[in-house]
Symmetry: C2
Subunit: 191 residues, 2 copies
């Protein structure tokens, strides 16, 4: 073959990576296949060698986004649970997370577009959110909380809402939104 073994799999991964960034940056309906392929250094015609349809690629890209996020949350497993949770909250509710939408958590980024997406992508997203809730709840158990799942759901709602809101605001107001949630989430946890 004229391409080394594994070349096609790498190309597919590159498309997926650039799709994950592009879909978050410009919205699921705001970027086309041609633009995504161009980001990956390819032309649009080759797309269907790798995916059955645009919807298939969106679903795979959503799964990829959640996997990236989960890896970040799991990092540093030797650190005590409260410290890991605290670091996660600070990062999630940071101006940097708000600004770097292309690499940020897919939950606030895609939440309000999801009801209009294809069922395959919705399933990827639901699985990702369920796994995220489970991870947060497990961390809260390690922190000694008795109501981990309810608290995890409530906290995730606040995190997601704060980041989504901050992205709609100017820099100064976004900072207030983030600071307010940082403070109140910490209060709730006794941090």
């Amino acid at each position: 073959m004229r391409y080394p073994a594994g070349h096609k799999a790498e190309t597919r991964k590159a498309i997926l990576l650039h799709a994950a960034a592009g879909l978050r940056e410009q919205g699921v309906r705001g970027i086309g296949l041609a633009a995504i392929m161009r980001r990956a250094g390819l032309t649009h015609g080759g797309f269907y060698q790798h995916f059955g349809s645009r919807d298939d690629m969106v679903a795979a890209a959503v799964t990829h986004m959640f996997e990236e996020g989960a890896a970040l949350l799991d990092a540093g497993e030797d650190v005590p649970a409260p410290d890991r949770l605290s670091r996660f909250l600070d990062r999630y509710l940071s101006a940097s997370h708000v600004a770097r939408i292309a690499r940020g958590c897919p939950v606030p980024t895609l939440a309000s577009e999801l009801p209009h997406m294809a069922e395959t992508a919705r399933a990827s997203y639901r699985d990702g959110v369920a796994a995220l809730v489970a991870r947060l709840a497990a961390l809260l158990v390690e922190c000694g909380r008795s109501d981990p799942e309810t608290l995890a759901r409530s906290m995730l709602s606040e995190l997601v809402g704060a980041v989504a809101l901050a992205r709609t605001q100017g820099i100064a107001e976004a900072a207030e939104t983030l600071a307010a949630s940082r403070r109140h989430v910490r209060l709730r946890l006794g941090f």
Copy 2:
């Protein structure tokens, strides 16, 4: 004239009403001018008698959505503040609000589409959110809270996140998301 006085103004309002519903129901990029005009019982050609562009109409529709919501929050001004707040929270975090997206609060519905919208619509949205924060903070002052604005921002983030998340989930999981936030928002307020 062949139409009664005020007819044109009424038509404009009808377009705006159906646009406000359609944009929320199908997404800002998910519904076209022709479909909105059809909802209003008109054909698409007449649109530019009423609006300079699609973006102008979206901005006007966003303003309209927030005005509807503000009217709902202000209703029942004779009721004591804690009761009004409590009722607002129950309605906001209800399965009915999650289901009736076309008439619901624009904040969770449009949050993640907003970064991709035209500046006019973004300005309408930012004004609406600022007014909503101010209204909530005023209610919290009436409830005797000392940190009204920070708490209002944090609570709004949680409300918005919970509704946005619930809309991405199945009925059973959405119910858990809503119940978790109802419980924890109440805990925070001492209700």
